[in-house]
């Protein structure tokens, strides 16, 4: 398995109505790699993660997860649209944490986490509860199991959302600006949690973030993105300290001025 790439985008095109978001995108991520995507607003960063999470479907091209196409299968030697069952199996390999948490407001914290293991994996309730309790402990919210999401602070909500995504034990985790709705101090705590998590697991991880310090700490590789294209691609030192493209330099200047 290890020789296979964890994620491959091959000639991906994606547009919404009139706006072309991604044009002929090619991207490969190795198993266990931590990739940080940076870039200006509207450049298509979220779209990449949403495509991987199958929240969006590419207009053309192939997305491969662990060497297997997400949207297509071969039948009688021909490439055909994959069945919903196939797509769901592929989707099961990926988990995602959202900018605005997207917790289920009608379910208590513990239920937010146990719902998917029980209904998607068919896990017995007692086992799901045990796992959820462990995860809550790991994100430092053991005492909030019976709280409603509305009773939590932003940072706490995001911790629950992380635990919820982890409960399905995905092989790939996607983090889309998970701290941009949080106060800087709280954001730091959540990012520390993610850093610890990244050390403890072998998951492939993709991050979209504007936190350059965090990017430096966690990234094996940084991609700078502009208007749906990868402008720069390298180690944190290469991209953040010695950017080759004027566009990257301009963006980084703006980010550093803002912070």
């Amino acid at each position: 398995m290890n020789h296979k790439a964890s994620i491959e985008f091959v000639n991906i095109h994606k547009s919404y109505q009139r706006t072309v978001v991604l044009e002929n995108l090619n991207l490969t991520v190795a198993p266990g790699e931590h990739v940080v995507i940076i870039g200006p607003s509207g450049s298509g960063k979220s779209t990449i993660l949403r495509l991987l999470m199958t929240l969006e479907k590419p207009d053309s091209g192939e997305i491969l997860i662990e060497g297997e196409s997400v949207w297509h299968t071969t039948r009688d030697g021909r490439n055909v649209d994959a069945s919903p069952a196939h797509i769901r199996r592929m989707r099961g390999k990926v988990g995602m944490v959202f900018q605005h948490f997207n917790l289920f407001p009608h379910l208590r914290v513990l239920q937010n986490i146990t719902e998917a293991p029980i209904r998607v994996m068919g896990m017995p309730r007692s086992q799901a509860v045990r796992r959820a309790t462990d995860l809550l402990d790991r994100v430092g919210l053991a005492d909030k199991a019976e709280a409603w999401p509305a009773e939590l602070s932003g940072g706490q909500k995001q911790r629950v959302a992380i635990a919820r995504a982890l409960a399905l034990q995905p092989r790939i985790m996607l983090f889309d600006e998970i701290t941009s709705a949080l106060d800087p101090e709280i954001a730091g705590q959540v990012l520390q949690l993610v850093l610890d998590l990244a050390k403890q697991t072998e998951m492939t991880m993709l991050f979209v973030t504007h936190q350059m310090r965090f990017a430096r700490q966690i990234a094996d590789r940084v991609l700078f993105f502009d208007r749906g294209r990868i402008i720069e691609n390298g180690t944190p030192e290469q991209v953040l300290d010695h950017p080759q493209q004027p566009r990257t330099r301009e963006f980084l200047n703006n980010v550093f001025q803002a912070s």
Partner: protein, 216 residues
């Protein structure tokens, strides 16, 4: 006035039956219609649209008269008045109910759909465990109003031979000529029935509440 009461109360029972029956029909019809409206297949979408526009665009009384006087001429059989009334008033309410359901379902934020997909929920789990529970609190208050409208609309059934409050009131009025008493009593009975129905719906509403945050 007391001697009118038994007959009016018998009418109230029938009014209750017609209303309850119509509410059941409306619930089924609006659920089907909204499922068709929200499906991605246009072949399902447009019949539901036609149904909703047809029943919302014309008047309940015309629908009822049409079903009672014109429809039996094309049907091979003649349904009983009470069945006709229940079906027509139910379909009428269902058209309004479908719009209530649609508005509430569409107001569940996209992030909730995203989260459900990201957790690999099946379509059914998504609908029944994520979307509908959040739509409920938005559905119940306008539904309560709709049900009260349906109770009031059930009075029209009395015009097509259903022996409800209205029908019995008309008979009493003709035989006693005590107009104010008969129709005053009818108004009060309808009012009480509406209050009971509203109270019941409020109870249901209270049981469906959960603490909703500004942004989850």
């Amino acid at each position: 006035m007391l001697h009118m009461l038994p007959m009016m109360l018998r009418g109230a029972l029938v009014t209750g039956e017609v209303t309850a029956g119509a509410i059941v029909v409306a619930s089924v019809a609006s659920s089907c219609a909204v499922a068709m409206r929200l499906s991605t297949l246009t072949a399902l979408d447009w019949p539901a649209r036609v149904y909703i526009e047809l029943f919302r665009g014309t008047s309940a009384l015309i629908q009822l008269f049409w079903a009672f006087y014109a429809l039996p001429l094309v049907l091979p059989f003649r349904p009983s008045p009470i069945i006709t009334a229940i079906v027509v008033l139910g379909l009428n309410g269902g058209a309004y109910g479908a719009e209530i359901l649609r508005g509430a379902i569409l107001s569940v934020p996209r992030g909730q759909h995203d989260a459900a997909t990201a957790l690999n929920f099946s379509a059914t789990t998504k609908v029944f465990r994520v979307v509908l529970p959040q739509a409920w609190p938005l559905i119940l208050p306008p539904m309560a109003n709709l049900f009260i409208d349906m109770l009031k609309n059930s009075a029209l059934a009395g015009l097509v031979q259903v022996t409800d409050i209205t029908f019995n009131a008309q008979i009493l009025q003709e035989s006693t000529l005590r107009n104010a008493e008969v129709y005053g009593l009818a108004l009060v009975i309808y009012f009480i029935m509406a209050l009971v129905l509203a109270g019941f719906m409020r109870l249901l509403e209270r049981r469906m509440k959960f603490p909703v945050g500004a942004r989850i």
